[in-house]
């Protein structure tokens, strides 16, 4: 199938049709199957074709005729129908952009990743005090603002997450260090000034260099994290 998907621009020099040699049954089948509102079975087709026509053979011939075309003749159970070639399904889509606001949970997780990176899912949960739903991390990965950057050298070797350059550009930050620290957060009133003395806000860094307690990602990790439908973090079962 993949080979059909190749983009080829090749000159057609010889007519692929040998005109005239094509049995009329094929034209009739073509028209019937094209216009039918639902797949048709062989018996229904035979009823419409001239007496004595070999419907089975004609269908097979037609299927072969269309095998390499943008439209294929496919059998669905015992019935036949024209369908867009599988490899062109992408063509049958219209892409639109819709603006979505991140959920509160996603923003919270994002904020923790930004300040505490590199950080594992378990650590995020520890800070937030709630379990992070898979969907939340998926959405964040989809934004392209976070990325899995390594694996923590601890049992289970969980993925560590960090922010990306597009995170910086989304939030108009020149560098991650521009994220306000404790004093600035207090100054803007976002943090209560009467917080316990032990309260600290880390000085965040998105230095891509792995930390001492990080291992590099493994080959499969990125695909895993990019495929929206797949659990991005699955430390227990490395494939």
């Amino acid at each position: 199938m993949a080979s059909l998907a190749e983009k080829r621009i090749v000159e057609v020099d010889e007519p692929s049709e040998t005109v005239g040699a094509r049995p009329e049954e094929l034209r009739l089948l073509e028209a019937l199957l094209f216009a039918a509102a639902e797949p048709l079975d062989q018996a229904a087709l035979a009823k419409r074709l001239p007496e004595g026509a070999d419907v089975k053979a004609a269908l097979e011939q037609l299927q072969a005729d269309y095998a390499l075309r943008g439209v294929n003749l496919v059998r669905i159970g015992s019935k036949w129908a024209f369908r867009t070639a599988n490899d062109l399904s992408w063509l049958m889509t219209r892409e639109t952009t819709e603006t979505r606001r991140l959920s509160r949970a996603a923003i919270e997780v994002l904020a923790i990743i930004a300040y505490h990176q590199p950080v594992t899912r378990a650590e995020i949960e520890d800070i937030r005090g709630v379990v992070t739903s898979k969907g939340t991390l998926d959405v964040l990965l989809e934004t392209g603002w976070i990325r899995p950057r390594g694996r923590r050298k601890t049992p289970g070797r969980p993925l560590t997450f960090g922010t990306t350059e597009s995170f910086l550009s989304q939030f108009s930050l020149e560098a991650l260090g521009d994220l306000p620290g404790l004093d600035e957060l207090k100054g803007t009133g976002l943090l209560d000034s009467r917080l316990p003395t032990g309260f600290a806000v880390p000085a965040p860094s998105d230095d891509p260099a792995l930390r001492e307690d990080e291992d590099p990602l493994e080959p499969g990790d990125l695909d895993l994290a990019l495929a929206p439908a797949v659990e991005p973090e699955n430390p227990e079962n490395p494939e």
Binding site: A31, F34, A35, A36, A37, E38, A81, F82, R83, T84, M92, T93, R94, E95, T96, T97, E98, T99, R100, R101, L102, R104, I107, E108, L110, A111, I112, A114, Y115, I127, R128, G129, V139, E142, T143, W145, Q170, F171, S172, L173, L179, P180, L185, T188, L190, L191, D192, L195, P196, T197, G198, F199, V201
Partner: protein
């Protein structure tokens, strides 16, 4: 010239035409769509090219048709009567010699114009017929019976502001700190822990040493200082009571010094201040 026949209703008589003893003419207005249509039908009876038709003869035919219809008291729509009047006028003009200084179109021109209208109506009818015989959609030719849907893929473009981000971060960190009273307790040194630690420390402190310093170096996490101080002090008092340790403090809030009590039988009790350390 057409203006006078336009503004009339087309309501045609529904009465079936009674068969008259008029031999050539069957009066059946119902089948006609107005006077032009009737004229065209009559013209066809002349079996000549409309371009060469005798308008005079046509006018006669029309007028006798109308006459017949009136004789049998068929109610004719006004359109037909107006046309009859106009044709009678045209007929008289055609029969009389043209006045030398004619105003407006001549009788010949009027006749030609009528012939042209008939030709045009006939032409458009032929065109309509051939249009209707063209391959028609859903009658002769068919589109795809089962069109496939174009699936819409939505690419989300996420939005969030730095303010959202900071608010979220500050809020959850703060909430966590303020809401975790019981968790703070977990990091509190138990008296037993403090005592065990102090016993270890005391084991090496033969000379007077500052408890503060020891505790400082021991407690890395500043958030735990308070609890470490409190527990240690309580434990120290206990050790003093047991006679294992001497404590000394020169004045309130001054550093507290301690040492392993030297083995001496005398009970010169070490002076422990009543002021606990912060």
């Amino acid at each position: 010239m057409s203006a006078e026949i336009l503004s009339f209703e087309t309501g045609l008589p529904a009465a079936p035409p009674p068969v008259d003893d008029e031999p050539a003419l069957v009066v059946d207005v119902e089948g006609y769509e107005g006077p032009l249509d009737l004229l065209l039908a009559l013209a066809r009876q002349q079996k000549v090219d409309l371009a060469k038709i005798s308008i005079l003869a046509l006018a006669d035919q029309y007028l006798s048709f109308i006459e017949a219809a009136r004789k049998i008291r068929l109610e004719l729509a006004a359109d037909y009567l107006v046309m009859a009047a106009w044709l009678a006028f045209l007929k008289s003009r055609l029969l009389l010699p043209e006045p030398a200084t004619a105003e407006g179109p001549s009788a010949e021109e009027m006749a030609t114009a009528l012939a042209n209208r008939l030709r045009r109506l006939e032409a458009i009818r032929e065109a309509a017929n051939s249009l209707m015989t063209r391959p028609q959609l859903m009658r002769d030719v068919f589109p795809r019976g089962e069109p496939e849907q174009i699936a819409e893929i939505k690419h989300p473009k996420f939005t969030a502001t730095l303010f959202d981000l900071l608010t979220a971060y500050a809020a959850q960190r703060q909430q966590r700190v303020l809401a975790s009273v019981h968790l703070a307790k977990r990091t509190v040194w138990s008296l037993a822990e403090a005592r065990a630690t102090l016993e270890r420390l005391v084991g090496i402190a033969e000379e007077w040493a500052s408890l503060d310093e020891y505790l400082m170096s021991f407690v890395g996490d500043p958030t735990q200082r308070a609890t470490v101080f409190a527990s240690s002090f309580a434990a120290a008092l206990e050790l003093v009571r047991e006679g294992q340790v001497d404590l000394q403090q020169t004045q309130p809030f001054a550093p507290i010094y301690f040492r392993k009590r030297p083995p001496q039988p005398a009970s010169d009790v070490a002076s422990a201040t009543e002021q606990p350390a912060g």
